[in-house]
């Protein structure tokens, strides 16, 4: 009963957030990028929650349960990537986006490269294809997790949570998304406190590690870096390189273009708050590994290890707060990426808006309509498919996407390429990634690593060819 009450109050509060910010949304700039006025502190808090989100609560502990310590590499490699973004890339992306007047990831790449509709279409479609899977996974997660909390079956639970998210996102745009992300970080801190208490109550890290080692020594000392790669050293280095480029994901990029004026001090604040939240994740992974000794039997779905542990070891109030934390984690992943994807897809229709002389208010309405359509497609898919969490596939899909767009995004700031360089970098690396995945060649992180190298190489080679053929490019 207590978790149900907490959940209902929280869902109503979210709708209130949407109403609160509705009046401030008058243009596409307000809606998509909050008028480009986010402060580094606010952005850092929101980015941290969006970055860690569903992965921290569900995916990372699940991976710890299934594979053991290799998941630690993903945490440790993430932070240097965050610091590089804060100090080097986010201020540059922000400045360039303001110069170009762009409000989306697609618009940024197109305008920065002087690209045309082919580039717009490719980026928008690739982004949409990658993120629709995210939406479906998030909605399924919400349905599965909230069905027992709300005391209803899977479909009504999914619909209740989905409707709340789309309503506040439609009303408040990025401001509502960011505000709800920051609230989510509060719940993550509660989960972290409970996690530390749980480890201490079981005798501390050493005692729990000894029990895990007795159960299965390979969880702490795996012979390979499975499922990510061939060796442990290989995955630590691959993750370190990959996560520098991972920060170019469309919905992260969307945060950078929404940033207001910033300084080195702002970058340091951004890094500090983002790092603080990412640092909680290893403890969640460790508790995930400890699931083997804390829970009876073997879990069918490794992603359920954290909820099961919290349900077994905490009281109903704490479990209720944890459930809300899971909801906010999934929600922060969903709402931010839904908004960023909508902004990208909206770019496909800009020529039509211009052709038919649409006003700013009409363009905003069309943007909101696109968001509803994307949401509806995901809801129908999630309702008709069997429920499963797919969290790890979701995160790995993002790693692949960030690798594919590496050339025209972060490499643009090292040496800018041309529009066909950007186009072919995305297209060729996408084909390489799909072939590697379908044929099952290399580990997951290594596949992305190859796609990353292809994207960068093709970006510069195709750009050089285009400049040779057409020196005006």
């Amino acid at each position: 009963m207590i978790p149900k009450v907490i959940a209902i109050v929280y869902l109503i509060a979210l709708l209130g957030v949407g109403f609160m910010y509705k009046a401030g949304v008058k243009t596409r700039l307000d809606y998509y990028v909050a008028g480009r006025k986010l402060t580094p502190l606010v952005l850092g808090l929101s980015f941290a929650t969006a970055v860690t989100g569903v992965w921290s609560y569900i995916g990372a502990p699940g991976s710890g349960y299934a594979y053991g310590v290799p998941e630690f590499a993903s945490f440790a490699a993430w932070i240097p990537g965050v610091a590089i973004v804060a100090f080097i890339w986010a201020p540059r992306v922000r400045k360039k986006a303001a110069e170009l007047g762009t409000t989306s990831f697609t618009g940024f790449i197109r305008d920065a490269h002087g690209g045309g509709y082919a580039l717009t279409a490719l980026i928008s479609i690739v982004t949409m294809a990658a993120y629709v899977l995210t939406f479906v996974a998030a909605l399924k997660g919400l349905g599965v997790m909230f069905s027992p909390v709300l005391g209803v079956s899977y479909v009504p639970a999914l619909l209740i949570c989905g409707v709340v998210i789309i309503v506040y996102s439609l009303m408040g745009g990025l401001r509502a998304v960011v505000f709800t992300d920051i609230v989510g970080l509060g719940f993550m801190c509660i989960a972290f406190g409970v996690t530390v208490w749980l480890i201490l109550s079981q005798g501390g890290i050493g005692a729990v590690a000894a029990r895990i080692n007795d159960f299965n020594p390979e969880l702490l000392h795996p012979p390979t870096g499975a499922p990510y790669g061939a060796t442990m050293a290989g995955i630590w280095i691959s993750f370190l390189v990959m996560y520098v480029f991972y920060q170019a994901l469309p919905h992260y990029w969307h945060y950078y273009i929404s940033l207001g004026e910033t300084t080195n001090k702002g970058a340091a604040i951004f890094t500090l708050v983002a790092t603080a939240s990412v640092c909680m994740v290893p403890f969640f992974i460790f508790v995930g590994m400890a699931g083997h000794v804390l829970l009876p039997g073997v879990l069918e779905d490794a992603d359920t290890v954290m909820p099961m542990i919290f349900q077994a070891y905490t009281n109903p109030v704490v479990f209720g707060l944890f459930s809300i934390g899971v909801f906010t984690a999934i929600m922060t992943t969903f709402d931010g990426s839904l908004l960023a994807t909508t902004a990208c897809v909206d770019e496909l229709f800009l020529p039509l808006y211009e052709k038919h002389g649409q006003t700013e208010a009409q363009k905003l309405r069309w943007g909101r309509s696109i968001m509803v359509v994307l949401w509806a497609v995901a809801v129908i898919w999630a309702v008709t498919s069997p429920p499963a969490l797919m969290v790890q596939l979701l995160v790995l899909g993002w790693v692949g996407l960030s690798a594919v767009v590496a050339g025209p995004t972060l490499c643009y700031f090292i040496k800018a390429g041309t529009k066909w360089g950007a186009f072919f970098a995305i297209l060729v690396s996408l084909i390489v990634l799909v072939v590697l995945s379908v044929r099952g060649l290399l580990g997951w992180i290594e596949q992305a690593f190859v796609a990353l190298a292809v994207s960068i190489a093709v970006y510069y080679i195709a750009s050089a060819i285009e400049r040779k053929v057409s020196p005006a490019s």
Partner: protein, 67 residues
């Protein structure tokens, strides 16, 4: 050397150190990750804040001289 550059060096050095620790023994990140990263980023914050303060007071001083 600018203080913000020193801040970046602190983060990079700890970043490399933390990955090397992870390669040696992943379990050590549970002990070193949180305190190490918090210390590195707090130091970076204070160095950047100090640099910004100095730049502001320098700019203020120059303004006074012009007047």
């Amino acid at each position: 050397m600018k203080k913000s550059t020193i801040a970046a060096v602190v983060i990079v050095v700890w970043g490399i150190a933390s990955v090397m620790i992870g390669i040696k023994d992943p379990m050590l990140v549970l002990y070193t990750g949180f305190p190490g990263w918090m210390a590195a980023t707090v130091i970076a914050y204070f160095l950047c804040a100090q640099e910004e303060k100095e730049e502001k007071s320098r700019a203020g001083g120059k303004g006074g001289a012009v007047k």
